[in-house]
Amino acid sequence: MNIVKKAKGFWTSIGLAVVLSVVLQFLINGGTLNPFYVNTLYTICINIILAASLHLIIGITGQFSIGHAGFLAVGAYASAIVTMKLGLPFPVALIGGGAAAALAGLVIGIPTLRLRGDYLAIATLGFGEIMRIVFLNIDYVGGASGMTVSHLITWPWLIACVLITIIVIVNFTNSTHGRACISIRENEIAADAMGINTTFYKVIAFAIGAFFAGVAGALHAHNFYIIQPTNFSFLKSFDILILVVIGGLGSMSGAVIAAILLTIISAFLSSYPEVRMVIYSLVLIVMMLFRPQGLLGTREITSFFKVGKSAKGGVQHDKNTVA
């Protein structure tokens, strides 16, 4: 009963998103939106995918990864190689970027996910930096000067990727496997004792998160004309982390809303980058001091429209952050 109601709220949101995206398509085609707004819109979509993919790793599975820019970089470079060097069509690049990032997620996830908390954070940070240095040193992808990529993305492709990402991740969260991941977040030892293969689920969540980060990387590469290793430094990882933390660790709608709001704020503050970072860091500190669970905690936005019903995403304790 509850599940049906929850699903209704979710599919209503998806339906609204589709309607909105069709309207936006007409606005873009009609030239009502100027290029600045269109560009912001594209960045919002890419950030939503990134936030959703990191949400699965941190918010749902409780694995604190701060090397997400590494997967973004793998996806971006892999897709750029597919379209620019191999001359294959754009959809192949999307899948290729995602698959390469998922592979990287598996390779890095299997050894490092045995680590917990702080150590995992540092190991993933190290992975992100290694990826950046690797791309910096490979001449095939242009080294430090980067790689020029043609602008291939269109609005329908972008919005389709966003919706597929959200639907897959939400359905994964609500499946048996997602429940297993949430149990790992709540208490890994207890989950292990209940017979859940914690390593398997952590790696799976990591690989799925990495896949979508790779797709976001492919979109990023084909939106910005040029990709350079400096675009994927760990400051980028922090940018993605901030989206998930502010939205609420464990809330998909929180991550999406944070991605939309913060991208708009960044777009308007883009002429003052240091002011933006000062504000971001202050928000991060104040948020952790006064509301460590983020804007929505583990709740979803749809749960606010139903009085007295429990939302998805595990136990309703808004005292602490997850993990």
Partner: protein, 293 residues
């Protein structure tokens, strides 16, 4: 062979800077179980304070070093009191995110105040002579770096093992609640740990500026991360481990550069980190030494 020894000397100079920063990481981690991401930025602030003391106040190397260390100690205590103390009982993730926030705040606050342009350290602070030892050139700077770092490390060992506050630190890192019951002022002890760690980072900042001559607001990030790698390499929470890890990492990096892979130098530290985390998470000194601060 001579070139190898030359690189070894460079590596030891670089490594002693890593070791000084790593000490702060390892002490703070040992006592509050927090990766203080802002530590690398305290190092940056130390470098800038040293720079301004030398250029504006016209001081020599040692007074500048002392001023930077004192200012960083105060700065470290302020960070701890304002940002970390309210979160002492929060989850580890919340504390980690706060640390990242503090780090970003210091970096971009500095850029906001003084701009992002780099500064060049004056290179006439100490007389530049080089010592010729069996065909290996050792500059007076390397000798000075090594001497200052060794002195500070010995001083630290003395503080930790022979003074009352050192005993309190060891007690708090061993068991915070029991230490509290024994009448130890835990808050002051933690602040003292931050003060000592930050002072060492400030000293490292001045030394770094003198050795590499270029300082900028984002310079703390990479040395900070590498110093953390050094702390993990030696076994986090263990003071001699941080020293050994720092020196080892410095030497490894110099040798990699010497072998012709200087562009890969930054990556090596992280490869070392991932390998050590996989094969020996307790670090090189992790098993034998129980004592932690």
């Amino acid at each position: 062979m001579e070139q190898f020894i030359q690189q070894l000397v460079n590596g030891i100079s670089l490594g002693s800077i890593y070791a000084l920063i790593a000490l702060g990481y390892t002490m703070v981690y040992g006592i509050v179980k927090l990766i203080n991401f802002a530590h690398g930025d305290v190092f940056m602030v130390g470098a800038f304070i040293g720079f301004y003391s030398i250029t504006i106040l016209d001081l020599g190397f040692f007074p500048a070093l002392l001023i930077a260390m004192t200012a960083c100690a105060i700065f470290g205590v302020l960070i701890e009191r304002i940002a970390y103390k309210p979160l002492r009982n929060a989850t580890r993730i919340a504390a980690l995110i706060t640390a990242i926030g503090v780090s970003l705040f210091i970096e971009y606050g500095t850029i906001y105040i003084r701009g992002a342009q780099p500064e060049a350290y004056p290179n006439n602070i100490i007389p530049l002579k080089s010592l010729d030892l069996f065909g290996v050139k050792i500059s007076s700077q390397s000798v000075l770096i090594l001497a200052v770092s060794l002195f500070l490390m010995i001083l630290l060992q003395f503080i930790v093992h022979k003074t009352k506050i050192g005993k309190a630190m060891r007690a708090v890192s061993h068991d915070m609640d029991a230490a509290k019951l024994m009448g130890i002022n835990v808050n002051n002890t933690i602040s003292a740990t931050f003060a000592i760690g930050s002072a060492l980072a400030g000293a490292a900042g001045v030394i770094f500026g003198m050795y590499y001559t270029k300082i900028e607001p984002l310079m703390g990030i990479i040395p900070g991360l590498k110093a953390f790698v050094a702390a993990v390499l030696g076994g986090i929470g263990i003071i001699p481990g941080a020293m050994a890890g720092g020196l080892l990492l410095g030497v490894i990096e110099s040798l990699v550069s010497a072998a012709g892979f200087s562009l890969w130098r930054d990556g090596v530290a992280f490869v070392v980190l991932i390998l050590i985390l996989i094969f020996r998470p307790a670090g090189l000194f992790g098993k034998n030494v129980r004592e932690k601060v």
